[in-house]
């Protein structure tokens, strides 16, 4: 990779509970509206279920539950970011997906120290945008068991 690439990062933006998040575009393989989610009994609370995306089984993580937010009013109407880790497919369920933003790396600020631990866990930094703040998501951390990451 060259420095030219590193100087700017493209984010897929999404909102969860009114907050704007950004996931590095390199990690987002898909953006889709999840259908036919199968719930998994005995699963950790943040696992919303499993679903079939073009023949592949994906584990769906509810970002609201991951962040300790109240459940979505309309469970049906949500979007998902498809990501992969160690050959396994995961979908992060968010309220909505917005545009792709290209932001200079240098503008990225550290995570504020007073951010709630459950939020700080999954954030790698913040960007100050006009009128609002974008929280940069660490997608791998989103896949850690919530109880594990709290204990850590």
């Amino acid at each position: 990779m060259t420095t030219r690439h590193e100087s700017e990062i493209e984010y897929v933006t999404a909102t969860v509970g009114g907050q704007l998040f950004g996931a590095p575009i390199a990690r987002v393989l898909d953006v889709f509206a999840p259908t036919r989610l199968t719930r998994v009994p005995l699963a950790p609370p943040e696992v919303a279920g499993v679903l079939n995306l073009r023949g592949r089984i994906m584990t769906a993580i509810c970002m609201r539950r991951r962040l300790g937010l109240p459940p979505r009013e309309n469970e049906e109407k949500c979007m998902a970011l498809g990501i992969e880790r160690d050959g396994e497919a995961y979908g992060l369920l968010v309220d909505s997906v917005g545009e792709v933003l290209k932001l200079p790396f240098a503008d990225r600020d550290a995570v504020p120290v007073n951010l709630q631990p459950s939020w700080a866990r999954v954030a790698t930094g913040v960007h100050r945008l006009e009128g609002r703040i974008l929280v940069v998501l660490d997608v791998d951390r989103c896949l850690e068991r919530r109880s594990e990451s709290l204990a850590a």
Binding site: T38, A43, V50, I57, T59, Y90, R145
Partner: protein, 871 residues
Amino acid sequence: MIGRAMNDLLQDFLTEAHESLDVVDVELVRFEQEPNNADLLGRIFRLVHTIKGTCGFLGLPRLEALTHAAETLMGKFRDGMPVTQDAVSLILAVIDRIKEILAELERSQSEPGGDDDDLIRELESTASDASGAGKNVGTLVYQVLERPLRPGEVPLDELERAFREAPGPSPAEEERRANTERRDDERREAAHRAPTLRVHVETLERLMTMVSELVLTRNQLLEIMRRSDNPELNAPFQRLSNITGELQEGVMKTRMQPIGNAWAKLPRIVRDLSAELGKKIELVMQGEDTELDRQLLEFVKDPLTHMVRNSADHGIEPPDERRAAGKPEAGTIRLSAFHEGGHVIIEISDDGRGLDAPRIRARAVRLGLVSESDAVKLSDAQTFRFIFTPGFTTATEVTSVSGRGVGMDVVKSNIDQIGGTIDIKSATGQGTSLRIKIPLTLAIVSALIVEAAGDRFAIPQIAVVELVNVNGDGEHKVERINDATVLRLREQLLPVVHLNALLKLPAPVNVDDEHFVVVMQVGSRRFGIAVDQVLHTEEIVVKPISTMLRGITVFSGNTILGDGSVIMILDPNGVAGALGVNSESSAPHEAVAERAASEESDSLVSLLVFRAGSSEPKAVPISLVTRIEEIDARRIELSNGRHVVQYRDSLMPLLPINASVEVRSEGMQPLLVFIDKERSMGLVVDEILDIVKDELEIKVGSRTPGVLGSAIINGRATEIIDVAHYLPLAFEDWLHRAEIGDETLTRRLLLVDDSSFFRNMLAPVLKAAGYEVKAVGSGVEALTVLERDLRFDFVICDIEMPGMDGFELAERLRADPRTEHLPLIALSSHHSPAMVERGHEAGFGKFVAKFDRDGLLSILKERQVSWARAA
């Protein structure tokens, strides 16, 4: 320094050398027993020679010197030197050393330093001793060390030449080389072996994944086709479907390996063990060609080795003890493998002292696994399962072989991991037998799709024993003891848990509503899982669950159904664990049930119950049914006035089971598919009802064609269908069916046939004709049975069997004064006058064609008349 081509060559050499050495191991042990077998020696010699040649070429002096010395000694054998156990042990020691060097070579890419003078010296002296010229050992050592490794001594085979002539081997040359090499080295085998090609396992794995995806996509398309109505799509979809099926089968086949591969090391191990333990042990292996998925093979390899070791160490007694017990001095360990209803069965049995139930019980109490008062209530079958507990050993002293407390628990966990089951049977003084049942492949399994709280789940068929319909006022009721639910089923009490409760799903609104109990068996433990509905069975492609979900032990994977939705697969072992039925201490009532189950397990038959035509249930032994299918009725075609369907790349005839069953023209048509070798046939039924395990005792014979008679199954009068009746209807070349005799003299028959299909076909017919039948799969088994129990009136025996054939069995029976008068009837698929002649010489009174049940029954009847006269 080593170039790429050289590196590849070294890699090839290592792979081939490992394979060759495994063969040499086995062949040497055989050779020791058959020292006059020149073919065998020739084969061993050639393999060692090839290794030597390649070593010389690759510049591996240590290996070359070692193989050369071994080859020289084997040359002496060929020239007539007597084959001694010491000499064979020496060569085996050389093989071990070669393996050590190869391992180091593989690790470091170069031959390790050091020398093998010790072994070479011994080899040389053994070789010269035999030649009789009392040469000085010292001179020989000198000779060996002094002699330069002359490359000219190594005959340059095609491999070397091809390599020298070309800068690097091109694929075409590789191929040619492989062929010519084989011609040179294994001329005999080459005659009946097609050219082969090495393919990396990863490539096959990837292919398998892709095929699984294709199967899923096909299933999804099928679902869409069902909903839409576009006849234009039918033909291409049909074709796609067929090709997918073929491809799936083809790729599965490439992953299949004969189980003999996992057994290759066993003869050597048993040989070494018998020497070490001072016992005489014969290892009999049957069904080496039985194939299973290579992934599974890896899982069973170590457990098998361990169990054989256990048998040799704990099972087989020392010769003097055996003699005192009136047994032959040499003990026998039998390994056999065969396919049964989509599973592979592996049996390891010995004729040793058997498991010591009281001792195991005492040990279990000492380890705190069970209380003293509970222990006495345990059946033997339950007690035996303690040996699967980690750290459990009853061996009083730790030998180098076993008794270290590692083992059977590992065996069990390996078998568990691949969704298999393991059962033990043992009788004091008579031996122990372990039976392992594993799926043919891990990737695609047959599963029961059930529903609980509106969600669907898959239960692997391998663990399902039967389905029980439970309704408020029916015969089967779920009862309550405080909070625990139990099901009364044929004098047994089964613990039952509702799937909703197990999975912490919302409880059903009305628990007394009609629902089903899936009776599952894990090891010897049975339990019931109550579900709201049983939907259907489906071949599912098992996908691993993600790391996030891996902690949930009740699921073994997930899968995509034909309609595109994802469902979770229940893990029978995990479910048993969650229920606590795995803990070896159990309630007394369960112990009683267990005992009852183990006592009658021999006479229990798994039956498929279905409805066809009338409301009266019908049943057929499930071991006869190859598959239960539901096909789209639109796929059924009419050809020559007969119903046929394209099934697994051929046309399968469909037969309604009786005149009142109509072949459907729309919707789904349930079928019972029977496959025997090349032929397949589908029996059209109305509805599949149940799978039950029950005693198959035909109470009333029948004169209706296609019906063997009626039996009480699950408390209801059920017609038992005679599959053999339909086979000739579907194929003219199957012989015609006989009327069943209605004599009810209880005579005991021993039926010996290696084909489970025929055993299963003949046994019910003979039972229906009033005989008591014991069916066994081989001559050796027949002898074992007769050893214990002589009360048979007839032995009916197949002629063509692997291992001990019918003639040999007959000769053995004739040679033994206890069995010489036993009437023998030969079954044969074709019999020439010469064969009949040989049969009479061997002691067969009668010859009957395999499908001629008329003939068989009339011969039996004749004999009975003569008995009646004699009486």
